[in-house]
Amino acid sequence: MKDFKIAEPQTLEQVISLPAEEKDKFCLMAGGTDLLGEIKDEIISPEFIVDLKTIPGLSYIQKDKDGVKIGALTTVAELAENPLIKTDYPALHQAALALATPQLRNMGTVGGNLCQRPRCWYYRDPNMKCRKKGGSQCFASNGRNKYHAILGARICYIVHPSDLAPALISLDAEVTISSPKKEKTISLADFFTLPQVNVRKENILEPNEVLRELRIPQAKNGEKSTYLKFKERGTWDFAVVSAAVKGTVSGRAFKDIRITLGGVAPIPWRLKIAEDLIKGKKVTENLLRQAAGEALKEARPLKDNGYKKELIEVVLSRAVLSLM
């Protein structure tokens, strides 16, 4: 690990006025649970770290007339314990609890969870210069790829590791970004970008932009949601496949439904095709398998990760059925 300095800003303005062209020199840090690991492993070696935790007022969960606002520096543990989140947004509550370990949830933040870097073992190997690190090849595509992407990947086969992201996207969350230009609010689904757009990044953030807040619209009457995570071991494991489902049920059918998968694509993967097939129809296991099957027609498994297709079918069916 190389030495670095720590900057302790007092305001967001100080952060967004950092020179974007010197992006290799600094990194923003929230909980640090991922960033410090990257620095220790020498995946990145910034000259200084900008500790966002010294800025007051970025940690909160507030209800207002439009829904709920969550400060980016709210810890995952605080999110998991919040009674409003638990009753109105079960998918988010469950995702928070399914994430990492109690120690990591105490340190990790909501914003940091969304901005964490991929866990691809080639990316995390300091000896390997893959595309994501400016190299010319993806080692995973022909290497050991049991945990890699089967959907949406072409030049880089990472999967997005966040548990909160699929839940938040299914809940139609928006994200507010402080930027040198002007603060902007966009749909969280538009926040994440595929490697094909820019292989070095997983989202639209510029180095001197800060994910400041999340907003989730008011839960509709009768709205239900759930997050189902399939991981290999009991805890401290990233999703092999996860599904966040939100919908309003009427009789045996969904009036509307949102399905977002985790662990299968370089970004949280919205299953629009499956949603359209399920919406308005009587939900049966058969229908769900069929919907998953349609959505998986675009899946491109690698040598070791074909089993994720089967897991997607099961996890999706179980998550949807649990809302009936």
């Binding site: 690990m1 080639y122 190997d125 000896n127 080692f139 049991k146 399939f230 089993y307 099961v314």
Partner: protein, 754 residues
Amino acid sequence: MSKREYFKDTEDATLLYYEEFKDKETILQQATPEPEKEIFKIVGQYTPRIDGEKIVTGQAPYTHDISLKGMLFGKILRSPHACAEVVSVDLSEAESLPGVKAALPLKKGRVNYAGEPVAAIAATDEKIAEEALRLIKVDYKPLPFAVTVEKAMEEGAPQVLEDRPNVPPKPFNDYSRGDIEKGFKEADFIIERTYKTAVEIHHTAETHGSVARWEGDRLTVWDSTQAIFSVRDGLARWLRVPASRVKVIKKYMGGGFGSKLGINDYTVIAAMLAREARKPVKLILSREENSICVGNRPSSLQTIKGGVKKDGTLTALYLKNYTSGGVGGGDRCAEPIIDVYKCPNMKVEEYTVYTNTGASRPTRAPGHVQGTFALEGFMEELAAEINVDPLELRKKNYSTKNLGDTGIPYSSKGLDKCYQMGAEKIGWHRRNKKPGQGNGKVRRGLGMASQIWWGTGRPGTLADIKIHPDGSVEAICGTQDLGTGTRTYMAVITAETLGLKPEDITVKIGSTEYPWCGSSGGSTTTPSVAPAIREAALKAVEWLKQLAASEMKIAPDAVIIDKGKFINKDNPEQAISFQDALRRQRREMVFHGECGGRSSDYAYNTFGVHFAEVEVDTETGQIKVLKVVTAHDSGRIMNRLTAESQVIGGVTQGISTALFEERVVDETTGNVVNRNLRDYKIATSMDIPEIIPLFVDIIEPRMNIMGTKGLGEPPRIPISGAIANAVFNAIGVPIREIPMTPDKVLEALKRKEG
């Protein structure tokens, strides 16, 4: 309790089995001497660790905690190539970095795995040492490599070691008995199955490391080791100094599992750097280094062909194994198949496959873990084939002599009792009579697997008891506590013998300045140290009784010793304290004990059985272990609390390798890709079910005066097989490969449908 009572409330079939053997006067009566009456009060009870508080409050000094005045920090530069020619190593720039005090080139010629040491640095702090590593210029000429068994076995594959083929044509284990062809002819059923086990990494909680200090020509080394005397002798050899001038210290350790046996390169390097820099050097390896270059459990690819009669009698077993320990040797996996079951006709061929990966090291029950997984999986499939209860099949082929009943008798073998106790506790009758007979997406099943291991002690192990004039007592032995509770049972045995309490005893271990004891490997520590301590303590008692008798003016054999007092057996009113007995004593007294030898007329082994209950989600392929019951025959138990911990630890490790653990090597780059504890998955507390450890408590007087056998490795051996067999019982399709990850279970279920 009569034997009748002992076996009551069990299944008819099992009871019948016992009755049948009882009539024939075999098993217990023949193979085991009558258990002697329990004479101990503290030994065998639940005694908390005497150093437990120190350990959990962070006061116990581990090697990582050692900090000396002026100490430097050592780091090793390792090859990033799986195979390369080291053309040159230029240390000049690194040496000129301020703070660098020593630099050593370590390699010329060929490196054969990614992680092989190339150069080393000692500097005033870790960061400077790391920076210096980056400044070392190594000119590598990369060469083709083979990091997987498949690749290494291909025709024309790159040759891993310069002096031998990747698969030496002569098997390293070539064993046969009887007539294998005749055996197959006699069989009513013959099946052949192939089993595969992955490379497992030890991943001790405390990573490997040493601290070395020279004072003139005298060397002191603090080392995280299972073998202080081997380290001392190894250092003396490598550094060409007399062993008398080398001292090795190991007070506390965070795990070894075989990876810390013998002398290690990093220890020698630390001592060389310290000599060069004329300063103490601390060299602690990282988690990443622990993943690639301090050993591993070799993989195995075992094919078993076996023949059985309709009634379950084994007629022939044939094992062929390809095992790979990287640039080190493979594991001898055949011992369980050779020994456990009565089988007159046998053939074994085992071959090593060399690959360009780090060298193997003994890993908690080397070979037996892999061999038992295959053998017990095979027995389970055989039982299904002939439609008998898998436990009955094992009993049917029960042996009382080693080499599958063709050798010498076991000194004691309580495996039948283990079967009985374990089956009863898990509720063996609840298993699916036909594998996979249940319905539903989530299926339950029960499985079992038997265990054999050695676990005898080392004759010649020395221990001292020192009695001070003030009555205080020391128990001293140059052994090392791997975390198993050695200190505590030394105190327990001493206290038991001298009529004191364990906390009264000062235990001294972990230094080569103490009486000699061998490595802590092979489950030998307890059966080596316990009898030596007992013998020394018995001598001390003799002397103490004489002293007390003369104070009390009675005959020495009228003195009994209890609760810190000497009591007149004929007049219990007359009693004096330890201090009173010693009041004329002006100097300390030392009594020497030694672990004695044993008759060669018997085979000495430990036995056991594990039963597992699992739940398998047939849609996701996920296995959940619900309950584990173990029953072990390890002779007399010294401390039931730490013995149970030992079993729980072994089972936990076994669950972890059955379900998760696998070193993953990338064929393109030759690197291990999961060099951390996130990607190399070890079971968490959430994956560990209720574990019920039982002991049969058969005292083993032929082996040593404490009647005890080892317990370090036995609980690690059968668990993966028991889980695999429970999975087979649940879903009706065997998983012949560990780890049994969901992708493999789904694959197997598809095979079943197909």
